[in-house]
Amino acid sequence: MSRLLWSLTSLHKMDRSVANPSVWDTQQLYKHHEQRTVAQTRPKYREGRRLKAVKVYTINLESRFLLVQGVPAIGVMTELVQLFALYGVIEEYRALDEYPAEQFTEVYLFQFKKLTSARVAKRHTDEKSFFGGQLHVCYAPEYETVEETRQKLQDRRRYVNRASQNTAKQHNLQLEENTVSSCTKTQTSAAPEIQKGSEKARMENVNRDDMGFSVLPLAPEDDVSYRLHGFEQPLQLQWTTDTTLPTEDKMGSLHNAIPPVTEKETKQSASCKKERDFIKRQKNLSPSIRFMPRTTHLESRKRKLEGQAFFLNEAAETETLIGPKLPELPKVDMEDHSLNVTASLIRQTMSKVTSVPEIKPVQVKTPTVKPRRRI
């Protein structure tokens, strides 16, 4: 009975679905994949830097999956992957052969590890030309699994509440100069929040900490101050905190430049102290940093890199080795077990390959007597 009713309702919807794609139909093409026309009629005061369509973004529309349309079919997949890899770790990618594409173009699907990476990638690649074609990049949440959808929503909720907590914190800081007292306040207010969160979401996975969302990414100035501070720290400490080299992100994006200060929020006492330090730092450094000329910045970076090299050499000196030793490649954590395994494999083979030619010429050279040079 209900089944009949169900099929009836879906039937009368089918007729309309041709004109208006609704939530009921089965087609592969979704409305949110279409490129909307931009609004030309906005008054000056709410005209952004780029013309955009009238559209509302919600978390439902966002995804770690990106659909890339309009890729010229001239075998440039490698270049495309390289382009997108600039914005974050790609977990998976494939060509969507079944997806209806325009003539001489291909459609690709990318799955980023983090939603923030996908967001940055979309912003930087959509409507950009690529090997003579114009890319159209959109989110593809229909490729998510139930679990991924759930995780996405949880991460978003956690991020929003943490961010609003932080802004509340800031208000406190602005009101009272005494940072210590405000710190204890946030401590007490933060504790019940966490409890509530775990109560409410019985399925919450505590181990996964903000997969998709950065915890309030810092503005460029703050970031610089952090780096500068890092330089002032003892070198050893700096080396341990910055496992990935803090060299500049060429994209100017901050998605991976989050200091550990905000990451360890659960450790309240530690974070409290760090926060105080951070504020002090900001107070001390912000005026000088804001107007720091580029040459100074480059110099400090150079000095920092030299310092790192020095540190490496120092470590090497403790071993019984005579002569200069090249600094070892820093072990980069790829944030994924299988990636790490691959990286170490590559490293091993590379070291094998480079070690072989060193021996060979010696073996070859010894038996042959150098012929006398004719003048």
């Binding site: 009975m1 209900s2 169900w6 309702t9 009368h12 919807k13 309309r16 208006n20 794609p21 609704s22 939530v23 009921w24 139909d25 089965t26 979704y30 409305k31 949110h32 609004a39 009629t41 906005r42 005061y45 709410r46 009238v54 559209k55 509302v56 973004y57 919600t58 978390i59 439902n60 529309l61 949440p141 229909e142 490729y143 998510e144 699994t145 139930v146 959808t149 759930r150 929503l153 978003r156 909720r157 991020y159 929003v160 509440n161 961010a163 609003s164 932080n166 802004t167 800031q170 409410k200 979401a201 019985r202 399925m203 309030l216 990414p217 810092l218 503005a219 460029p220 100035e221 703050d222």
Partner: protein, 192 residues
């Protein structure tokens, strides 16, 4: 960390206030749509939420849910979906008794409206509001959604059923669907 925003809190507030004023003053449907979409997108950023709450934008969004214009409904529920992520805004929506209005959006013809409504309902579910947001009619509707071909709708409805409803609720809704007391929530009316 205020460096994230390029504008001070007061600039922000004034700008948003300007938007709200334009929305209320203008007679142009197009301008209204644009401003509404602007406001809903601003609601995505947590740093705007306080200002939007002060400006009673939650009320504005809720008013949109009963409009004829489907764009108004879509943008309004989108804004609510963004706002309701935060606890204080959620409480504000609950106080304005927004749950029935959100539930009515489940019957929309548009994907985005329905999806936003489901997410908003999830956000609005608290210990106190649970009986309202997971009403038997809503659970039945989610059961139907979880069987559709649209993966986004199916996934979201599954999350709702698994995380926000008890097994008893789901079982009872299934029984009711077998019997005669079917609810029509989430079934759009045919267009003429």
């Amino acid at each position: 960390m205020a460096g994230k925003s390029h504008f001070s809190a007061s600039d922000r507030f004034e700008y948003l206030q300007g938007l709200v004023t334009e929305f209320q003053d203008t007679d142009s449907e197009e301008a209204k749509e644009q401003v509404l979409a602007n406001l809903a997108n601003f609601a995505y950023d947590p740093s705007n939420m306080e200002a939007l709450r002060l400006l009673q934008v939650t009320e504005l969004f809720l008013d949109m849910l009963t409009e004829e214009n489907e764009n108004f409904v879509e943008f309004g529920i989108g804004g609510l979906c963004n706002l309701s992520m935060e606890r204080e805004s959620r409480d504000q929506i609950l106080q304005s008794s927004g749950v029935p209005l959100v539930i009515s959006c489940l019957s929309s013809n548009r994907d985005e409206t329905v999806l936003s409504a489901i997410t908003t309902l999830m956000n609005l579910t608290t210990a106190a509001s649970r009986s309202e947001t997971t009403d038997s009619a809503v659970v039945q509707c989610m059961l139907r959604f979880s069987l559709t071909q649209n993966p986004r709708l199916r996934n979201l409805a599954s999350v709702f059923l698994e995380d926000y409803c008890t097994q008893q609720q789901v079982d009872r809704a299934r029984e009711e669907m077998q019997g005669q007391s079917q609810s029509a929530v989430g079934i759009p009316l045919p267009k003429d």
